[in-house]
Amino acid sequence: MTERFPKGDAEADRAGASDTNSPLLEVDGLETHFPITTRWLRREVGRIRAVDGVSFAIDRGEAFGLVGESGSGKTTAAHSILGLEEPTGGAVRFDGQLVDELTGWELQQFRRRAQLVVQNPDDAFNPRLPVGKSVAEPLALHGMDDEERRRAIVADLLERVGLEATDANRFPHEFSGGEKQRLSIARALVVNPDLIVADEPTSALDGRVKADVLSLLDELRREFDIAVLCISHDIDVVRRFCDRVGVMYLGELVERGETEAVLESPAHPYTRVLIGSIPSLDPSDRSLVRPLTETVPAPSDPPSGCRFHPRCQELIPPTASLEREDWRAIARFRFALQEGTVPEPIAVDSGTRVDPETVRDAFDLPTDLPNEGIEDAVEAATRAVADGDLERARERLAESLSTVCERTQPEAGDECEHLVRCHRYDSTIEAEPIPWRG
């Protein structure tokens, strides 16, 4: 057995106790909001809800993935868990203890046991320090004063991550991106952590280097029984590496479950858009899924009810009598007007009046709808758009096409294994889930 950083006493006790059943990391309703303030008086005028009620748990040795697009709050969530950002609500428990209550030696232990690997390895190292010094720095910080021992541990780890012991004397610029990411991993491992938070660990790498770094991380996690929170926008990374996965949209966790279940048969409409946007490796299948509307709302002013509703292809209709395609066309019409993204022939900026027929054609609106109220609303809105009065059209549509998706927030349905935050999966609401690729 090679030399490693010793684990703390408390931990050794704990390992012997029966506490091992509880998860290593428990995140419960985590909220991190950033205030928007006015320039002079610093009065709060709004909040960016970067993370808004995220819950998940990671067991010892488990790899959990957090996916989502840029701006979905996944990095903020990770930083809040590590205490790098101060959460504004919710609770983070590490090994059963609330992280924000930790002080002194316990806090230091937490900082040793939970390590971060950042996205861009170029920024992660001091260019004027030999990498061996950078990798050894956490050891010194956590109280290992014996330089010989530090050197031995670093040399050993460098070999373990596929580099050479003599590389310790070289400088960051002498390494390639993949090698630097291996060094980042070595630095995280050097203090013998229980949790590694890897924020986009491979997005600066490509092809086989990416695969190599991922398999290295996977090997190490199994060898040392380390839990990993892997944050990525790359579904391929999550598919390969994670046991379970959570999908984030505008600060909320919309779906969570076993990686295979979530990626092979996604249930939440947003997850479906995300998975369906990835080009297939089969060149004869070139279909790409698109959301109902394109614009991602601002996290400072998220939509009411389900945050995905203005972009949702599976939006629940106000009445069951509508055909799915007809309803989609009408909903797209409504939300496009709301966003102000009007198609070409009736562009608002042209300022000229158009024919209601042109409006119908531009949005591909159905005629002869079975429901009179909706037919009337669509008709009235079409005329309003033709007259150039978008505000009236918006109001008319909002009034008659109100859906449960915008009125109430979907329940998180806490205790179940596969969480889907969508009204279609709520038994109290009259709408069936639509089968994937159905």
């Binding site: 697009e69 086989r208 991922l214 858009v273 946007s277 080009p279 297939s280 993204t341």
Partner: protein, 351 residues
């Protein structure tokens, strides 16, 4: 039209672009790096060709050398020729080269935020490009700029035209960059990692936009490291490694059964089984023989002879070519081909 310069093997359909034996070196104080070392390919009208490879394989340098965009020095184009519609671009004087570069061949780069000038509005940048290419009054140029923005899917173009690049999202900036590339109605768009800096949902829309561009008859040369992007766009694929092309062929056949051991390794990394996890992290690409031989599981002694092996036909398919001695005359490619089929199969079930 002068077509006496074109290569003699294809006289019936003249390719739009023919690159022959392109070699680009980088001179540094200590050594000379052969960034592009004998690259040849052709591109027909309306065709989409993807150049795939890892960072450092020379794919971007190849593309930027076509129109001499690479900075000389430190780069130096030391050999080969590039013919566009039968005209030798390297022999042309700077004026003519510039005309072709601006009017007929347009570039789109990886990072749109840095391709656009932050201190001018997107409208000013578009109008500037339009005025360089056409002699039009300012108001007409503005209308045309709005039309171009609309064509690439920017909502409310008449409002957005006076916005600055920082007011656009990454995906929208890339659309603006594509609009600028399309101003002169080029015959060829060279896109270097056009979707790498954006999210998948945005990437999906950009892929659709690029497909629309080629539907209009424009040719597209896409550089990417992402097999998925190649699968979504390309008609034909060129696989680059160590400054040379190691395999070429129609996309469907190539994805079904990658032939060159390097291509196979690339596909394998997508399947999540990295054969080379024990591979040395620091592999120097050899300067002669097959560039991939030091990492190749099928390497034999003949691999280190001479230059990169010539292209041999793969199987009976006349369009598939692999630069690997195993496909040469008198050799049995069975084992290598078999490895490719298993990888492709595993990949299919994974997807």
């Amino acid at each position: 039209m002068t077509d006496d310069h074109i290569s003699d093997e294809r006289t019936s359909t003249e390719p739009l672009l023919a690159v022959d034996g392109l070699r680009v070196h980088v001179r540094t104080e200590r050594e000379t790096i052969r960034a592009v070392d004998g690259v040849s390919f052709e591109l027909c009208r309306g065709e989409t060709v993807c150049l795939i490879g890892e960072s450092g394989s020379g794919k971007s340098v190849t593309c930027e050398s076509l129109t001499r965009l690479v900075p000389e020095p430190p780069f130096e184009i030391v050999g080969g020729c590039v013919e566009f519609e039968g005209r030798d671009l390297f022999a042309a004087d700077t004026g003519r080269c510039r005309r072709v570069r601006g009017d007929r061949i347009a570039h789109v780069f990886q990072n749109p935020q840095s391709a656009l000038d932050p201190v001018y509005t997107v409208g000013e940048q578009l109008i500037e490009t339009i005025e360089i290419h056409e002699d039009v009054p300012k108001t007409n140029a503005r209308d045309r700029a709005i039309g171009l923005l609309r064509q690439v899917g920017i909502p409310r173009p008449a409002d957005r035209i006076d916005d600055y690049p920082h007011e656009f999202s990454g995906g929208m900036c890339q659309r603006v960059a594509i609009a600028i590339a399309l101003t002169a109605e080029p015959d060829l768009v060279v896109a270097d990692e056009p979707t790498t800096a954006v999210d998948v949902t945005v990437q999906a829309r950009l892929i659709e936009l690029l497909r629309e561009v080629t539907d209009g008859g424009t040719s597209l040369l896409v550089v990417t490291h992402d097999l998925r992007v190649a699968a979504a766009l390309a008609d034909r694929l060129l696989v680059m490694y160590g400054g040379t092309i190691v395999e070429r062929g129609p996309i469907e056949e190539l994805f079904e059964r990658p032939a060159h051991p390097y291509t196979q390794a690339l596909f394998e990394s997508y399947a999540g089984r990295s054969a080379g996890s024990d591979r040395t992290a620091r592999g120097d690409v050899p300067a002669d023989g097959c560039r991939f031989r030091s990492e190749c599981p099928h390497a034999v002694e003949a691999c280190s002879d001479g230059e990169q092996p010539p292209f041999y036909a793969v199987g009976d398919d006349s369009d598939r070519r692999a630069s690997c001695v195993h496909y040469g005359p008198g050799n049995d490619p069975g084992a290598v081909l078999e490895a490719g089929a298993t990888i492709a199969e595993a990949e299919g079930s994974d997807d």
